[in-house]
Symmetry: C2
Subunit: 450 residues, 2 copies
């Protein structure tokens, strides 16, 4: 069968979850977020279902009111390195901030994960939304939003430069003649920029996929510009079909304007499906969960986009408060969308909290209905695929066993892997080494037409 | 059998090696240093031989003349996380510098490794010897030696404080009543020190061994003071029996002077044995390897302790040069010992390079002879055990299959594990959480008398 454009699926392994109720599922171990076996098992399940990748979200700041999974969890790089050797094909994407790390250490750790996984590593570049993170890293104030994004551009440039420290044939390892390294093929970076000075070289050669895949999730104008410039994939939350379509066209347009092939930046919004045998059952579940939500916790979740702005100070049944004067220095794109949506739909604070507080795209219905909705977004260029939040075992099983086969039957999703690197799964070319003589981009890891 | 004091053994997994010739061994894969399967296999072999731990050395700076293993290798945290899930008992110790990392990130990654390994993580605290590292981290100049050690003290304090962010019963995870966290048992650190400000808390609970084990390898006065203050184990190179005895007594004395139990800081010098069936064969091998050494490379190795000071500028057959005016800001303790030894023994530069350039303790002989030497150092309180450099498969096999059984037969080394945490293997108590009500130190993970 000749196949056209194909869906991509990721699994956000979120342990006990970032919502209010997932952790209370009797089938989910209460310590899932710190149990490496939970991550390995779910990565293997995602691999059996032929997912492109697993995804680990992150943030370097918590309070006592932080959501359960965020409170106590394994760190992404160590976690993914352990998962790497218990999987063979699936991509391994971890979140790490450019605001509070050193580029040299980031380049080493993701480069090392890329070797450990034999070419399946990905880095979700974030700039950190919550201002409190600054005080875990020696600063009184968080970096300003614009500066964060300028740092991120330079940071990623440095890391990519370090990843090219060795040409691919730099190590003859000729035991007879005694030549381990061809010294001419080790390159210093000598980067002296506005934010970073890094001489290099990195003590690590390139992996089978050349460099780890870069993801980015920013949704503000600065976030989209960063994604368009540096990302092989994006992971921004989508509120609804129309806004997702607009984001998709806007992001790919920005990439094209920079001279990039827009097909080489895949758009994978997060997805939190509510599945049951029938639409009616699924809607009943969604209704029950909605009614069980704790309003105070919802206000905290809503406030998170505004650096934990205290929304409990307002009348919940008055119109959404005027936030003029509140600096949007956290999750700026998301905060702007909440304000705009509340204004356009004339929501009360209570309505806004229930509709917008949970930060997620939720498809509700039977497997057929959810598959229809996935296809609609995919065909309508609102997404190139989805990143599925994995917490409760029953929900994940229904998706793998009921939704995925429908997508495969429709020819939208692979029935087997055709590559064994993350770039290969995503159809993203291997970048040539900046120091090597120009050659055709290697194509052996790309998804071939069947 | 009632056993007294027991030897501890570590395996330094060094891939293709940091000496001149190990990588040319036909039995050693040329890419061992970047092949996770090589590390997993050797960690499993060390575990089968009942070693206490595997050890990963590190340094964040290279040049084209750096030794083979250092040129291109996996990063310690990612490497050890992958090894963790393929072993069950052996400790996992990685090197990481306090000069160019953030304490919050270090606390998270080692804490995470400690969960992934179920209580087997250890951190070898270093301050970075080579000045070029500064230029990979945005600085023109390396930190001064004294300042590096002051930073290290505070850095480790911060990390240990972060590791105690949660009391051990902080997470009731009561699904029925809906209580995930007991908020009173989450603690901020609010550290505001000379070098670091870190508010916390860390998003990670403690592991089965309470906190990762701390190692330290500094040999200068400042290094010994740091080790005596913070370390559960040290890993300093030893030149000979007498200087090792002096170091041992000095370090334990410094620890006792700080009110610590000197038995709770284990001294494990590195060991590079040259083994063969007979003493004569082993000595012949040692002689051949010695004669095959490239003198220019030896001078580079000698110069490494002096921040790659260029020794090729001196007459090799004149007395060891006067280095007055050369700042000892790299591996200061080692550099001071080279100078003192060369002076005391009236060595030429050539002799010093051959005798001192390779930075290692080498026992040469048959398995019986090497076991005798190990016992002599152990009984004579020159060491509590050794960290064995693992590169060439044949050497490691001889040690495991021939030397270890002799040590076991003599009652010096365990024949099976009696604990399953690194603290348990080393006989180091689990630290109580600083926020918990005082209780007796937990003893279930300690090595019981048999």
């Amino acid at each position: 069968m000749t196949q056209g454009r194909q869906l991509h699926l990721g699994a956000i392994l979120e342990g006990v979850g970032t919502d209010q109720y997932s952790w209370r599922d009797p089938a989910l171990p209460g310590d899932a977020s710190i149990d490496i076996d939970w991550y390995i098992r779910n990565a293997q399940l995602a691999e059996e279902a032929r997912f492109d990748l697993v995804f680990i979200v992150d943030s370097p700041f918590i309070t006592p009111d932080t959501a359960p999974h965020f409170l106590n969890r394994l760190e992404p790089l160590t976690l993914l390195s352990a998962v790497a050797t218990h999987t063979r094909r699936i991509g391994l994407v971890g979140t790490l901030t450019t605001s509070y790390w050193e580029p040299y250490n980031v380049a080493r750790q993701f480069g090392s994960l890329d070797h450990i996984s034999r070419g399946r590593a990905g880095w979700n570049v974030v700039t950190t939304g919550l201002e409190g993170a600054a005080r875990n890293y020696g600063r009184d104030e968080h970096f300003d939003h614009a500066e964060r994004y300028e740092r991120a551009h330079e940071f990623v440039d440095v890391v990519r430069g370090l990843w090219d420290s060795y040409e691919d044939d730099a190590f003859p390892r000729d035991k007879v003649r005694g030549i381990f390294l061809d010294k001419a093929k080790q390159h210093r970076l000598d980067h002296h920029g506005r934010f970073f000075r890094v001489d290099g070289p990195l003590a690590l050669s390139r992996s089978r996929q050349g460099q780890p895949v870069i993801f980015q999730a920013g949704d503000s104008a600065a976030g989209r510009d960063l994604g368009a410039a540096i990302a092989d994939g994006t992971f921004a939350a989508a509120q609804d079909f129309e806004s997702a379509q607009q984001y998709y066209a806007d992001l790919k347009g920005r990439a094209a304007a920079l001279g990039r092939n827009p097909d080489h930046i895949v758009v994978l919004p997060g997805l939190f499906p509510i599945l049951a045998e029938t639409d009616e059952e699924a809607q009943a579940i969604a209704r029950r969960e909605h009614e069980a939500l704790d309003f105070d916790k919802l206000l905290v979740q809503l406030g998170r986009a505004f650096n934990y702005h205290d929304f409990s100070q307002y009348d919940p049944d008055a119109p959404f408060p005027d936030l003029t004067g509140v600096t949007l220095n956290s999750y700026k794109g998301h905060a702007e969308r909440i304000i705009a949506t509340a204004r356009d739909k004339q929501l009360t604070l209570r309505e806004a909290a229930y509709q917008l507080g949970q930060w997620r795209t939720s498809f509700v219905g039977s497997p057929e209905t959810v598959a229809d909705e996935i296809e609609r977004w995919f065909v309508g260029r609102a997404a190139d695929g989805f990143n599925l939040r994995v917490t409760r075992p029953g929900d994940f099983a229904l998706f793998r066993e009921r939704v995925v086969p429908i997508l495969q039957h429709r020819g939208l999703f692979r029935t087997d892997y055709t590559a064994d690197t993350l770039r290969g799964h995503l159809g993203i070319p291997v970048p040539s080494n900046r120091h090597a003589a120009p050659v055709e981009s290697r194509s052996d890891d790309l998804v071939p037409a069947e």
